[in-house]
């Protein structure tokens, strides 16, 4: 049964084509589409473990004639519905890892910093994006941004340009090795470290990142904690690799709170560099996925947003009702939930789908939410009632506000789109933008990667 009409792209030639969401009797929902030149495609969107209609809240579908030029004519245009919450700026193409999965697909060599954009060039871009994107949260990304020795100066430049929050997207290797560098980032005004953190076991890093990294990740968290920088753990969730580690990830985060402020899950999407994907330029990256039928390395059995929520709830021991969709981004793009952390790491939910407002939120609200939850609050003395006792279900307002600042954990997710499941309706609401040489793109349009014709 067709439940939604939208537009997408042909995964081979990336031409804009009509698409439908079809629900099967077992609750599974697929995106189906046909390209006149390259055939028919379908991608799993929803596994059916949660109520799709309740979650997606039936917002307006694309109107007739809308979205016909997407994403071919990106940057942002008059059809785009949302402002910028977070703007990503790549500050280097170099990296010191060679991950099997990477959205940016950089040159994986730490040498030759002469290939980096000059500081003055980036400083000008930061001023431009801060003004045009409404003082967004700026994410300095790469490549691996900590390979730049002048990253603290870039953070300072972002601060003086008026960016509301500054975040560094990193694998954490240098942050583990160089506490002085972490301190310099903190003094420059860095709010948030977005730390690639795929699991609590080294086998996971060996599979996804090519080597054991857990101890370095823990040292990076400790160094950030000492410097007062909030850490968000960012796992790429790949079925068969770390989808059974989600509960342990939550327990790890709770144990390392308040150094760790939250986990931002990213279910694997198929763009940039993935095993078996043939990138737009035609080079084969290698490997193949052993599970099920594939198209250019993309398995038909995808790890959907609802499966992430049901797995997480089951493994961490709470109800899926704690998850709420964003009021700003499209509901299929992610979720968030907040908890108080009780002694022993037990979580007490502070969110519930029943409290989710149907009113559309703004990019500014979205940004203030993530900034408030991910940055480290100022140190302050704990209320007397908390010093030796169990967190009670009843507390005065001041104690509760203290706990929200210092004893809470945020779980959130972003489900990036790829050429198989790209939904223009979702793209129109995107608040995660990429700045590239004066143009501003929705993230999933910027990194969209074609799969080769079979």
């Amino acid at each position: 049964m067709i439940i939604r009409r939208t537009r997408s792209v042909c995964p081979v030639c990336l031409k804009n084509i009509p698409a439908v969401l079809e629900q099967e009797e077992n609750g599974r929902i697929y995106m189906s589409k046909t390209c006149a030149h390259h055939g028919s495609f379908r991608a799993l969107i929803w596994q059916g473990g949660m109520d799709f209609t309740a979650w997606s809240r039936g917002g307006a579908a694309l109107a007739e004639g809308q979205g016909l030029d997407c994403p071919g004519n990106c940057g942002l245009c008059g059809e785009h519905e949302s402002g910028s919450c977070c703007v990503l700026l790549e500050v280097t193409d170099r990296c010191n890892l060679h991950c099997r999965y990477c959205f940016a697909d950089p040159k994986c060599s730490a040498a030759d910093p002469s290939s980096d954009p000059a500081f003055e060039e980036l400083e000008g871009q930061i001023r431009d994006l801060a003004e045009r994107c409404g003082q967004p949260l700026l994410q300095l990304s790469g490549g691996e941004p900590t390979l730049r020795d002048d990253l603290p100066e870039l953070v300072r430049a972002a601060r003086s340009a008026g960016c509301s929050y500054v975040q560094v997207n990193t694998n954490g290797i240098r942050l583990a090795q160089d506490p002085g560098y972490v301190q310099a980032l903190a003094e420059a005004g860095l709010d948030i470290v977005f730390l690639q953190f795929d699991g609590t076991r080294d086998e996971i890093y060996e599979q996804l990142r090519g080597r054991a990294l857990l101890q370095e990740k823990i040292r990076a968290i400790e160094n950030c904690g000492r410097a007062g920088i909030g850490v968000t753990l960012v796992p790429t969730v790949v079925p068969g690799v770390n989808d059974r580690d989600l509960g342990d990830l939550v327990r790890f985060a709770a144990e390392h709170m308040p150094d760790v402020r939250g986990i931002h899950f990213q279910p694997v999407s198929y763009f940039g560099r993935i095993p078996g994907n043939r990138v737009a330029e035609g080079s084969v990256v290698g490997g193949s996925d052993p599970r099920g039928s594939t198209l250019g390395g993309i398995p038909e059995e995808r790890y959907t947003l609802d499966r992430l929520m049901t797995d997480l709830a089951e493994q961490a021991g709470f109800s899926t009702e704690v998850f709420q969709p964003s009021r700003c981004d499209h509901p299929l793009c992610g979720f968030h939930a907040q908890f108080l952390v009780r002694p022993g790491g037990r979580l007490k939910p502070l969110t519930n789908i029943s409290h989710s407002s149907p009113e559309r939120g703004t990019a500014r609200d979205n940004r203030e939410y993530v900034g408030r939850h991910w940055r480290r609050p100022e140190e302050e003395a704990a209320p007397a009632v908390l010093r030796d006792s169990e967190l009670s279900d009843e507390m005065d307002f001041d104690t509760f506000l203290y706990c929200l600042r210092h004893r809470s954990l945020t779980l959130s997710a972003m489900a990036f789109q790829d050429a198989m499941n790209l939904n223009i309706e979702r793209l129109h609401r995107c608040t995660l933008h990429v700045y590239d040489r004066g143009q501003i793109f929705p993230f999933c349009a910027k990194y969209l990667t074609a799969v080769a014709e079979i």
Partner: protein
Amino acid sequence: MEEKNYYTIDPEGKLTCMKCGIPLIKGKAKFMYLDNGFPVELPVCPQCGFVYVPEELALGKVASVERALEDK
């Protein structure tokens, strides 16, 4: 646990329940959010249970908690 006061009734008895026509007295009340309770002492009507929430509390601590829990 010990209730916390965020206001003073000054002078006590000045506030009257419009429905019952009798003075409000100091009593226990509780704000609820999901299964979190926030006990406070507020002026309540001893007859119908009406609770008076002073503006300074509504626009102060209650608004702070609301903002802190604001949805994404």
